[in-house]
């Protein structure tokens, strides 16, 4: 199988806290890797290193057989790494289209003057939400996303990551803000993306979701890798033990 991502011996320190200590993970094409661990285990730090928000103090990242230096999130996105953040990272004062295209606005010209193509942004956001089978009333699409419900906002964050045809999709607690039917939608979505050969890193507290959706699991504990298992060869008792022991 094709190795898409290879994170080698990454360390990250914040002041006196060793958030990540010599952690290595890898990810194959079309594979879903679950990242589990207690609060403060380093899951979010690890994915922020991969998405270019944090720069590791040590270690390197190989993406598509290329050693890459992710100096900022833009660079990661250009390489095809999209992230759905736990806090969603939406600009609440902008509408759905503006959020999906934030940082990559399509341009057009009017009377020879370049302007942002808001119509295109609106029609594309309709499409991507429709593909996701997410229902946001048309009248709300042009409202600031701060006015949407938690589930709708989550949907916008997911839509934004998917619109750009990511090769690697990082999902940090993607179901946390969702109701039960929407959670199921997201789990179905992960399966669909997997069929399309998208590689996914999936962070969750919910072991049921992890066992349902992922192929492999890496457990972090206080910044170190506590263990790695193939999902079909482990069970939740073992995973919980990895998370809390030591």
């Amino acid at each position: 199988m094709n190795k898409v991502l290879d994170v080698k011996s990454v360390s990250k320190r914040f002041g006196g806290v060793q958030a990540l200590d010599d952690v290595s993970i890898h990810l194959n094409e079309g594979e879903v890797l679950a990242l589990a661990g207690d609060n403060g285990a380093g899951k979010s730090t690890l994915i922020k290193v991969v998405s270019g928000v944090y720069h590791p103090d040590d270690g390197n990242i190989i993406f598509n057989n290329e050693n890459i230096q992710l100096d900022n999130p833009r660079f990661a996105r250009e390489k095809g790494i999209e992230t759905i953040y736990q806090d969603l990272a939406l600009a609440d004062n902008l509408n759905v289209g503006a959020n999906i295209f934030l940082g990559r606005e399509p341009m057009t010209t009017k009377f020879g003057v370049p302007i942002i193509n808001r119509e295109f942004m609106l029609s594309e956001s309709k499409k991507v939400l429709k593909n996701l089978e997410i229902n946001i009333p048309e009248s709300s699409l042009e409202e600031p996303v701060g006015k949407l419900s938690g589930g709708q906002r989550q949907a916008v964050a997911i839509g934004r990551a998917l619109y750009w045809n990511a090769k690697l999709l990082i999902m940090d607690e993607p179901t946390a803000a969702l109701g039960v039917p929407e959670q199921r939608n997201v789990m179905d979505l992960i399966k669909k993306l997997k069929e399309q050969k998208v590689s996914i890193i999936f962070i969750s507290h919910n072991l049921t979701d992890i066992f349902q959706a992922s192929d492999r699991i890496v457990v972090l504990r206080r910044g170190i890798k506590a263990g790695e298992r193939i999902i079909s060869e482990t069970n939740s008792d073992e995973v919980v033990k990895l998370m809390v022991q030591g």
Partner: protein, 331 residues
């Protein structure tokens, strides 16, 4: 009880309504007390527009900064500094250079004005100094530099072209007003139709979201404060042209007027919202109040009281907007 749609309209357009209200009041006063007219008097219109030009120009830059979630307190003295530098450069050049001296002065002032903006922007974006403190420091530095350059005096200039720019009219409209209109159009375009404007809103809405979507936030903040200083520089040069003199204290009374114009125009103190057209309305309201108080012949000090009250009302309206629109709010 009014329905929520009406309330929403009122809360969004209260500043327009208020402007129309004071204009109507002044027109009524003119007709009843003086038996003349306020609105149809070209002198009145011109005076109000001239009153508006400088605070509006400062307010344009301030609108960008406030939307991004910052504030720039240094603009008033940046304006004074620009006024002095513009005057000094023109004065130092041979008078027979005429309009060329003015152009050189313009270029030199523009270049110099990028410095306070660059320092403000660097302090705020790279060194994480809170905007309020960083620009307050620059307020002092620009003020001192202005007085030092002018040697504590005003700098008179004698240049016909400059005099024309400050006092001339095209199609009956004073040139300073035309300059302000030009910058209003450019600023509206940048804020509404370009990525730069979009990133300014995103930055004010959620800085983390802006960073994570790949926007170069540090560079953007730097550019915002440079833009703000540049706008203040234009206001300062207009001052020099209007009075044929550079004065370090040129912008002193305008600092609060310009910030007030932005908030009266509907921008949120917390960033993320605001419009150039709002700032235009805000600046007009302030100018009409200031001129109107002289017009109805009460003590001019009332203008401070009235403008102060209007600022407070503006913030209250902004705060209660969500409630009026029937949205979720935490008590």
């Amino acid at each position: 009880m009014m329905n929520s749609k009406t309330l929403k309209l009122i809360s969004n357009f209260w500043n327009w309504i208020f402007l129309i209200f004071i204009l109507t009041f002044l027109e009524g006063w003119a007709r009843i007390v003086y038996g003349s007219t306020f609105l149809l008097n070209p002198f009145v219109i011109q005076s109000v527009l001239l009153f508006t030009a400088a605070p509006l120009l400062i307010g344009i830059g301030q609108t960008f900064v406030i939307i991004s979630g910052g504030i720039d307190l240094s603009v008033a003295f940046a304006m004074g500094l620009a006024s002095v530098i513009f005057a000094t450069v023109i004065k130092s050049l041979a008078p027979e250079l005429g309009y060329i001296a003015v152009l050189i002065g313009f270029g030199a002032t523009c270049l110099v004005m990028l410095i306070p903006g660059f320092i403000n922007g660097t302090l705020i974006s790279r060194l994480n100094v809170p905007p309020f403190i960083g620009t307050l420091g620059m307020y002092g530095v620009a003020r001192g530099t202005g007085y030092l350059t002018a040697d504590g005096m005003t700098v008179p200039v004698n240049n016909d072209f400059l005099f024309y720019l400050g006092t001339g009219k095209i199609f009956g409209i004073p040139i300073p007003v035309l300059v302000a209109i030009f910058f209003v159009i450019i600023a509206h375009y940048i804020l509404t139709y370009t990525k730069f404007g979009q990133y300014t809103y995103a930055l004010g809405g959620n800085r983390q979201a802006a960073i994570r979507s790949g926007i170069n936030v540090k560079r953007h903040i730097l550019l915002l404060y440079m833009l703000c200083a540049f706008c203040a520089g234009i206001a300062g040069m207009i001052y020099t042209a209007r009075f044929s003199a550079g004065a370090p204290q040129a912008g002193e009374p305008l600092m609060l007027d310009a910030i007030a114009a932005v908030f009266i125009g509907g921008a949120s103190f917390f960033g993320g919202s605001g419009k150039i057209i709002g700032t235009v309305i805000g600046a007009l309201i302030i100018a009409v109040i200031q001129f109107g108080i002289v017009f109805i012949d009460i003590k001019p000090f009332w203008q401070f009281v009235v403008v102060g009250i209007v600022i407070i009302v503006a913030v209250i309206v902004d705060q209660s907007k969500n409630k009026l629109k029937g949205e979720r709010t935490d008590e």
